[in-house]
Point group: C2
Chain length 409, copies 2
């Protein structure tokens, strides 16, 4: 398999064996779910070639806040990738893509179903080019079914999947999550499916086709809400920041602010009343069990808040966590990134972009001890690696000049 031989393009850093070192990924994706998927692979060591339309490229290059000519949004989601411009409407552009696929381990795309076949890369062609290929298709709704050809978007997946119907105040509208979690979770599933297929390929030599979609990803997040609905036929409603079946739980006022408290189990509740110096609540007939506390939520919350108002948020966060009760503030982004834990976990990192200075971006949520995720190269300028990639594929200078001349690359 090609993935086992180091490619000519390997830089010296890549001799460190990262989880996906030497895995070559052809990335035909744009915007978010796909580029997030390929970013996860790249962060773990894969060699990702991002294929972009000449002159335009990924639309995210022009989205979000632009500083010194660089979209920090693009920079964040395209680190560790190389950029190859290819005109997939040009037959010779497609020929380059065929060579690239033949020499790679993974192909990711987030076109609508049918587009790959329309540009000449149906399953039979892919199999002929590279029988061991792990081919991942990210879509709005999956590769089959009545909606397969529909356009999709994060917000619509949040709406259609049931997610919004259970998020928000009981007397308010259904609410979307601020972050584009449908895109991100779909990208995560794509990356997971690709890695699992690579495990299989490493043992059996065979490729696989993997699909993930925004809609299925969000449905899979329904978790116990779906389980309870299936068991009872009672659809869950919206509970705001209360938990449907746990009390106390939610946001509570303190002397100088508000804190989130979530004693998940009976034992945590007992620790909470102890830490609040409110052990008399243990004998209150309204609060003897979680079920009673849910039924008497308003009185429960009032009793908890009466104690919390006697101290500051800092005081209670320290005291309750020490007592084993999960607790902290709702944090805005400045507080999140100034938090000593976020700093310790390096969840914001700075990446030098030649010509654009240092770009701050999110760090790595997966922590490998021996071979940690790294940024080995900043997000590429459009087509920055066209020449290098074409040379690796065996094209001469003259041929590259000719391909540029005819608008194929």
């Amino acid at each position: 398999m090609s993935g086992l031989q180091p490619s000519e393009g390997l830089s010296s850093q890549q001799t460190i064996v990262m989880p996906l070192s030497g895995i070559r990924v052809v990335d035909l994706t744009r915007v978010l779910a796909g580029p997030f998927c390929s970013m996860l692979l790249a962060d773990m060591g894969a060699e990702v070639v991002k294929v972009e339309t000449p002159g335009a490229g990924d639309p995210v290059r022009r989205q979000g806040a632009i500083r010194d000519g660089l979209s920090w949004y693009f920079a964040a989601f395209n680190r560790n990738k190389r950029s190859l411009t290819l005109n997939l409407r040009h037959p010779e552009g497609r020929e380059v893509l065929a060579k690239l696929i033949a020499g790679s381990d993974v192909l990711v795309e987030n076109f609508r179903p049918g587009v790959m076949a329309a540009i000449g890369f149906d399953k039979a062609r892919l199999d002929a080019l590279n029988p061991a290929l792990v081919y991942c298709s990210l879509s709005g709704f999956g590769s089959n079914g009545p909606y397969r050809d529909r356009p999709s978007f994060d917000f619509i997946a949040q709406a259609m999947s049931g997610f919004m119907s259970v998020t928000g105040e009981p007397d308010g509208p259904p609410m979307r999550a601020g972050p584009p979690i449908a895109d991100l979770v779909a990208g995560l599933y794509g990356a997971l499916g690709i890695c699992a297929a690579l495990v299989r390929r490493g043992r059996s030599g065979v490729g696989e086709t993997v699909g993930a979609s925004l809609n299925n990803a969000m449905i899979s997040m329904l978790g116990f809400l779906a389980a309870n609905y299936f068991a009872t036929d009672e659809p869950p409603g919206r509970n705001g920041n209360d938990h449907a079946i746990v009390s106390p739980y939610g946001l509570f006022r303190t002397k100088d602010g508000e804190i989130a408290i979530a004693p998940s189990q009976e034992q945590s509740y007992q620790r909470l009343v102890e830490a609040l110096d409110a052990t008399e609540l243990r004998d209150d007939p309204r609060f003897l069990s979680n079920d009673l506390r849910v039924a008497n939520r308003r009185a429960m919350n009032a009793a908890i808040e009466a104690r919390l108002m006697g101290g500051t948020s800092d005081y209670w966060i320290k005291k309750l966590n020490a007592a084993g009760v999960p607790c902290d503030r709702v944090k805005t982004l400045p507080k999140v990134f100034a938090d000593p834990q976020t700093i310790d976990q390096e969840m914001a990192i700075s990446v030098e972009h030649p010509g654009h200075g240092a770009v701050k971006m999110l760090g790595f949520p997966i922590k490998f001890t021996t071979a940690p995720c790294t940024v080995r190269r900043p997000a590429p300028d459009l087509g920055a690696d066209t020449e290098a990639v074409l040379r690796e594929l065996g094209y001469s200078s003259d041929e590259i000049t000719r391909l540029r001349g005819i608008g194929a690359v």
Copy 2:
């Protein structure tokens, strides 16, 4: 590596090579992030042994809606696993665990940092038992930093990570997501890290230690909101169902209800006004660009809604999607699971549980073409596989009886 030899416990179905067939996982997790992680592995073919405390087991066995003595929540998150009871406070229970680890490929736990060492399984011991082990630790905050020993919980991670600060109405409180997405996304990262480490192990023979946490998982979901904050130093606020930098976008009333519309790009906006038969909006100076439409969002929304009120939700959903504008209703769970696309994608499945009947649960968000995810066994009764697993480890009937007698298993 042990993962390459089929174990004695393989059933005939497992001769089909699934992505993770033959990968043996010791699962010390409970509740949600961990069991979701090991469920993802099990769904893709891994052989997961769920280690539970004798007599009690995973607390989720007693949570959520119970039908015929079975928690459907537990059933949903523990399919495809076997249950082994082990008393980890008993030296002989720990000895069984040591043997299990020695013969496995993956170990997952979601104890607080330090607990594994306290029960005799620090990194040195794990290395000695199984140098090729992929060891995954799921935690609230990561294995280092000032909060490493704090208790954690989904709601607190949603609060601390910044997620809630950008979710909800602009004039309302910060809002949590209804589903426990911090647990689920952390579990997803754990599974992804494990699979990537297995790819590396398959090529180099070496093990790895992988960490994922609720807090880091949620921070990683901040996506372009974090990018924009880093670029501008302006923290994002809450936009309800509006998009901070896109208009029109959100929920709009129709003749008989409400639909979500999200024309993501200029081209989609042009298609929207075309499909609404409102092309005169193209010449309105307030709506000439996305930036102008964001600035005049109220007027924009009113103009869109004026057209939408002329037709039913069904009419517009069909017409707008056909025109290439992502659009649908906010669906409650009954609508989600009655939706033809959800049915086509098999996102709800029915699993026969001997003694408890057919249990409905969520399907598989990752679609493999050759070797799809399957349910090969229902969630186990507590300790249902203790005898079988102990026999596979080489214990005789007499030894098993003795271990039961002393309370070690």
